[in-house]
Symmetry: C2
Subunit: 254 residues, 2 copies
């Protein structure tokens, strides 16, 4: 399938590499900054531009993968000639695309992406939505070409999935970061946490996480909770987080 990538960030990079390796033809990469456009163009061995007027007209799909707040600015600078345009954002309703083409949809891979880290797209849930059954078919077919888990999800559900993802990915990663920083203060190697991190995630994929909670907060072990709050006195922000999360856990199980 002839595809143009609008955007050259983490998701555009990983998706572009995956699409190319699955025999799609990445016709062109567009980014507002020449350097980013060139970098991804070089990775994908394809044409690139930072000039919206130079965007090709031969693609079947134009995948707009820029930060959520930039989508409309970028779209308004390009003439899509009613070709199929999709965005890849969790929180942006499909309807925002309606002003820029008669054919539009959403192609949202639910995963955390970093430019340098390879991911296995075959296991990534792809949430698709389109303005017509014909466009939906195209997006399902595109999804099927790279993943075994393509789902039809409407804008309302996708928004909630994205909110949920912020908790289970970004916020979780922040707690990994706090955990690592705490160890550094006592010269303990971060590596010691890895089996625990892996098991915590593994458990949450085999059971409902609510049923496998452990630790002082769920036991409401006031003694430890107070000791640990005291240990966090040098970090009032983490102390406040500790307090709130412990209370939240306690309320859920009491």
């Amino acid at each position: 399938m002839n595809i143009t990538l609008i955007g050259a960030g983490n998701l555009a990079t990983r998706l572009g590499i995956c699409l190319k390796s699955n025999n799609h033809n990445i016709v062109q990469v567009y980014s507002r900054t020449e350097e980013s456009a060139k970098k991804l163009g070089d990775i994908l061995e394809t044409d690139f531009t930072n000039n919206a007027a130079e965007i090709n007209t031969i693609s079947v799909i134009y995948i707009v993968s820029v930060s959520d707040s930039a989508i409309e600015t970028v779209l308004s600078s390009i003439d899509f000639r009613d070709k199929l345009i999709v965005h890849t954002a969790g929180s942006v309703p499909m309807a925002v695309l309606s002003g820029y083409s008669k054919n539009f949809g959403v192609f949202y891979p639910l995963q955390t992406f970093s430019k340098e880290r390879e991911v296995d797209f075959s296991k990534i849930p792809i949430c698709v939505e389109a303005n017509s059954s014909e466009n939906l078919k195209i997006l399902i077919s595109l999804g099927d070409s790279i993943s075994n888990d393509v789902r039809q999800i409407d804008s309302e559900q996708r928004k909630q999935i994205h909110l949920s993802a912020v908790f289970v990915c970004n916020f979780v990663n922040h707690f990994f970061t706090i955990g690592a920083e705490l160890l550094k203060e006592k010269c303990v190697d971060y590596e010691i946490l890895k089996p625990l991190i892996q098991e915590t995630a593994q458990k949450a994929t085999e059971f409902s996480p609510k049923t496998v909670q452990t630790g002082p907060a769920v036991r409401f072990d006031k003694n430890i909770i107070e000791k640990q709050l005291k240990m966090l006195e040098g970090h009032p922000e983490w102390q406040e987080l500790y307090k709130l999360v412990s209370e939240s856990i306690h309320r859920l199980y009491k």
Copy 2:
């Protein structure tokens, strides 16, 4: 090695099963409630009691694995005749054992345990500490018999490791729970989150979590943050958590 288990909770259960399968002789299980003592005694096919006076005197090690706040109560009810006693708690200093035997130490496996869930002890870091080099040798030898990762960790470091574990395990699991609850409200299958949960953990074991943060908070995407806060209006507690964690992320990277 002849071993007595004092306690029959999650950790005592999994540790007992692991020790037995590595050819240690679990002489007896003690628990304050007869039902728990019998249950674990049956699992380990060994003697059990809920009468402190009946505890055997032939073990090399007495492993005290009860909730942190119960350790001293349990210890004071038993005459250990100066045998080696160890506790398995993260937050309890080794020194609390000094009043109950001349030989004491700590044997702390850093992992989250549930009674029903099998875990691979060979990868679990075992933090050991003892009151003498002789006792330390015994604990290292016991640790080596079940794990490839035995570390000498003092009480101060162990306390910090436990605090860190509360963030990366218990608090993380609570965010998995919130993520699952949010999906349920929109009839989205929790299963959709699993690849994201796995990748988030996997990334944190291959990189420093601080360097791989993604999402609206680290980009300081005010637009999404405000929309998502609004979506949480029905859950003031989660809304407050969202706000605090996002601010904490933002401050770390700005």
